[in-house]
Point group: C2
């Protein structure tokens, strides 16, 4: 269903992808919400990203959601949460009776990272883990009715725009986030540990992103974070969802694509510049990640860019 | 039921009244909530004040609430909202089957006055009007069940203290405030006009509070606010709930009491220092406001202070 052009893309590559502009969402008005019925208006968005968070609750039918090269087949009761800058698209065949509720909001509408308040650690854990995961998918199960009710109320306030409605919008979004925090973390201990590990790994992640062109190793990144090899390896996977090698390869592949799209002509030169030590290793890694050859993907990206 | 000691008191006099200390509410933890059943624990608080806002919802029975010298006989379905620094006490005869839900919160938990957000004007109108009124009383009518449900959920989160509960507390308090904003103001226009008038009158109010010892007049205060005599007179009453003369007399009576409690011995000297031009005018005004003679009230306050 998805072709090779649907790439896992990071912030540096986002200039290629269409940024979705909603005049009503942004700093001046931080919330947007809508209901969509695929039989009336087809649920089908091009690959895009935006600066707001997005929640998609499938109320009926099913819908495919692609996020950063990963396809999620969503069915009724599934809820997707996409952080800001997450590259995604959605697809639902015409005529299918799919109904979705969507809420979009700027993160700073509900969480001001600079103030230390009693809910800061919960909010920090929610936003940090979403950004690191790039998306989260939940089966709402018996909570579906409650969530639908909550989002319908939010939607009604959003549409009616009666006096004081923004106070309700903030409260409803707070309720949804509170629910999601309990889905993301089982208890206080798990959440506290997550935040501790997140902060320990944060610096190592930026070390990798800065030095991926060099022959860096897990030992070097662990040293950077002042952690033992084994402990670093464990929490790196826990926080990023990838092993160190996978993560490094992902960064290098993206750098390779960036070079090629920036006018590069030689695959082997671009691969070397991105940090790959030999071309056969590069080809193996690339096919493994992109399920397609470098030449095919780059062609596809050039088409998407033009 | 209330004796002459229950005075309308302003911030300068609050040192006389007991400040209620709750270890769990303040900057470190900004919310407190409880349910009280008068048959188990008598609902009866001494005259006190605190730095947090308080909501009292009478779920069953009745309860008397004294706020700043005014007695409110509350019955099931009534909800009182008391701003910070509001001097109050509550009374319910022993054995009466009265049940109340109480929520207390620091205003800055839900509203940061320094940030300009899409809900700022609603929050500003809510907090400003409450502070100016000193309290507000609502009949919840058919909303009682909804409000009870909301506060019970808040209370359960507060008591269970499960992971992420402070996010729920903030959201529930936001929902209650959103409801109250619609009870305080009928529509956007009324709210915008309120805020405009509030800001116009703000300076004149502080002018009166600074210059009440002088022979100030409505014309002078209107001039201070750059408003015409008639317009100033109208919005002054709308915002403060008092005519200019009533308000000036209130300030002067409080100043008189402050002087007497600060060691003053001569009623006439204290009255003159507070801004009253002659003693017979002072006596008439005082009895009218306090329903008691200056000597009786001062004796009562001295007892309360000791």
């Amino acid at each position: 269903m998805w072709d090779g052009r649907l790439l896992r893309v990071d912030a540096r590559e986002q200039a290629m992808i269409n940024e979705e502009h909603r005049p009503e969402i942004g700093e001046s008005f931080p919330v947007h919400a809508y209901y969509s019925d695929n039989q009336k208006v087809r649920i089908h968005s091009r690959i895009h990203y935006h600066s707001y968070y997005e929640l998609v609750l499938v109320c009926h039918g099913n819908c495919d959601l692609m996020v950063h090269y990963e396809l999620n087949a969503m069915v009724a009761g599934d809820m997707a949460v996409l952080p800001d800058k997450s590259i995604h698209s959605s697809f639902c065949p015409p005529g299918e009776d799919t109904q979705v509720l969507v809420v979009q909001f700027m993160p700073d509408f509900v969480y001001n990272g600079t103030l230390d308040t009693v809910d800061s650690r919960y909010m920090a854990a929610f936003f940090n883990s979403l950004r690191m995961k790039r998306h989260a998918l939940f089966q709402t199960g018996e909570d579906l009715a409650m969530l639908q009710d909550l989002i319908w109320k939010l939607l009604r306030e959003y549409q009616e725009k009666r006096m004081g409605y923004t106070v309700y919008l903030r409260a409803y979004i707070g309720m949804i986030i509170a629910y999601l925090i309990r889905r993301l973390f089982r208890n206080e201990e798990e959440l506290i540990n997550y935040l501790r590990d997140y902060h320990r790994i944060e610096e190592a992640v930026s070390f990798i992103e800065k030095n991926h062109r060099e022959a860096i190793t897990l030992a070097m990144a662990a040293n950077q974070a002042n952690l033992t090899y084994n402990y670093f390896s464990t929490i790196f996977h826990k926080i990023t969802g990838h092993t160190f090698t996978e993560y490094l390869n992902l960064i290098r592949v993206r750098e390779f694509e960036r070079i090629m799209l920036g006018g590069g002509n030689s695959v082997s030169e671009a691969a070397t510049a991105a940090g790959f030590d030999n071309i056969s290793n590069f080809n193996r890694v690339y096919r493994n990640l992109r399920k397609s050859s470098p030449t095919q993907v780059i062609q596809g990206l050039r088409v998407a860019k033009s």
